[in-house]
């Protein structure tokens, strides 16, 4: 089936079998390998992408269901080549990762949170990433990274003195 996907503000027309997950389509057809295949049945969260701004599991969706949707992957967050988004910077600075397998999904889940809540409490941060499993860090530095990015992004809108 022919499907039109708007990925990271770029339109792609792809030919997929109905059973191709959005995750496999992104990775194998569009070569966007930042969304990771973990459990492939919606438990681990490693395949998280944004669809129309909401964090969703790309393994729990067939590419045909995403026809016409605006999809954001980790590759679409940085403002320009060689740069990082404030969240990506914060993950580097607080070392919010170890093996890195869950990291793109954590950042996208956090991105969706900060887009609707500029000043999340610790509980709200924990809730936002509760569907994303990390087997290395114990989550503390991930939560710290998201809080740091939130603080910086609020600061961006403050007039300079």
């Amino acid at each position: 089936m022919r499907v039109e996907l708007d990925v990271n503000r770029q339109k792609h027309a792809v030919e997929v079998e109905p059973r191709t997950s959005l995750l496999d389509c992104l990775r194998d057809t569009l070569l966007l390998t930042g969304a990771h295949a973990g459990c492939e049945h919606g438990v681990c969260g490693a395949c998280t992408v944004l669809i129309d701004g909401a964090a969703v599991r790309s393994c729990l969706m067939f590419a045909v269901q995403a026809d016409g949707c605006a999809i954001t992957t980790i590759e679409g967050l940085a403002p320009a080549p060689g740069e990082l988004s404030p969240l990506q910077d914060a993950f580097c600075e607080t070392h919010g990762m170890q093996c890195g397998y869950c990291t793109p999904a954590m950042i996208l889940a956090a991105h969706a949170l900060l887009a609707r809540n500029a000043q999340p409490s610790r509980d709200e941060i924990v809730e936002a990433i509760s569907g994303n499993i990390c087997r290395c860090t114990g989550y503390a530095q991930i939560v710290e990274a998201i809080a740091l990015a939130a603080e910086r992004m609020r600061g961006l809108n403050r007039p300079e003195r």
């Binding site: 089936m1 079998e17 109905p18 059973r19 997950s21 459990c39 492939e40 049945h41 919606g42 969260g45 998280t48 669809i51 909401a54 964090a55 969703v56 599991r57 393994c59 729990l60 969706m61 067939f62 045909v64 269901q65 889940a109 969706a112 809730e127 936002a128 509760s130 569907g131």
Partner: protein, 296 residues
């Protein structure tokens, strides 16, 4: 973890979806797909055709209809979670929404999908049973209504005909001024399937006495259980934990609760008493806060 091959259709109308189901016995409806797709990935489900109804116009809405709130079947769960009409008029539904899966599955999952899937541990199913919702479906070119207690027949079994499409759920709104709600569940991890859950909605008078109550227990039996005897016993009473535990315990002693690897039947019955008592306590307290606010 790759599904078996299938055909995919995206009908423009509900009746067209019914026709696609009638034409192929192996066809299944999909909307959010948050339960069906993992089952397909594990090959526990192997539909020959997916009939995707999520883009059919006019099936995603929340609106006030007389003394009920009607929610379209393909309304996303995260939309219901933050809907202001739901918060104001269906506080029990608003209360349980954050417990349905997690944020990423609520962004795709639909109200109708959860109801039609009829998982015995599903929070939305518990609310539909507790409040006595009406389910509306389309089949053979006709629209029909069925009461929740006749709709849910067993775990993942409903009265929906094989060629029927659930189109809406109607939840009764309580007109009383001081209505409070409570909900508790126990599971291995937040967002996982509950072993036992309990929901309560209580209306109180100016003196804090119950004028109306609805209490339900989920995940402990094949279909969530509405405890009418408990609701009846609360009438005219202020909250008293010992007597609430007594009446819930007596009601559940005659019920066969389920047993599995995670929780025995006795455990489920014992926990159901505690969670129901907590949910009722919360509902009284919640209603009381509204009562105090009125007094000021």
């Amino acid at each position: 973890m790759k599904p078996a091959p299938f055909e995919y259709s995206r009908p423009a109308h509900v009746d067209e979806a019914c026709a696609l189901l009638a034409a192929d016995e192996g066809a299944r409806l999909v909307a959010g797909g948050q339960t069906l797709v993992p089952l397909m990935a594990m090959r526990l489900a192997r539909p020959t055709r997916l009939v995707d109804i999520v883009r059919i116009p006019g099936l995603a809405y929340v609106r006030s209809e007389g003394d009920e709130i009607e929610i379209g079947a393909t309304t996303r769960q995260h939309v219901v979670e933050s809907d202001l009409i739901v918060r104001a008029k269906l506080p029990l539904l608003a209360k349980v929404m954050p417990y349905v899966g997690h944020g990423a599955t609520r962004a795709r999952g639909t109200i109708g999908g959860s109801l039609a899937n009829a998982d015995h541990a599903a929070e939305i199913v518990l609310v539909a049973m507790t409040l006595g919702a009406t389910l509306r479906f389309r089949d053979g070119g006709k629209t029909a209504d069925v009461a929740a207690e006749e709709f849910f027949l067993g775990p993942m079994v409903t009265a929906l005909p094989p060629t029927g499409v659930l189109i809406a759920a109607r939840f009764p709104v309580w007109p009383e001024q001081r209505v409070g709600v409570g909900f508790h569940e126990i599971n291995a991890r937040a967002s996982d399937f509950a072993f036992v859950s309990a929901a309560a909605q209580v209306a109180v008078d100016a003196a804090g006495r119950c004028t109306r109550a609805a209490v339900g227990v989920g995940a402990a039996t094949a279909v969530p259980l509405r405890l009418d005897a408990v609701a009846e016993a609360l009438k005219g009473q202020t909250f008293d934990e010992a007597s609430v535990r007594g009446i819930v315990g007596a009601t559940l002693s005659a019920v066969d609760t389920m047993a599995d690897l995670h929780a025995s039947a006795d455990y489920r019955r014992r926990v159901a008493v505690t969670l129901a008592a907590r949910a009722i306590a919360d509902a009284y307290r919640d209603a009381q806060i509204l009562r105090d606010a009125d007094a000021r």
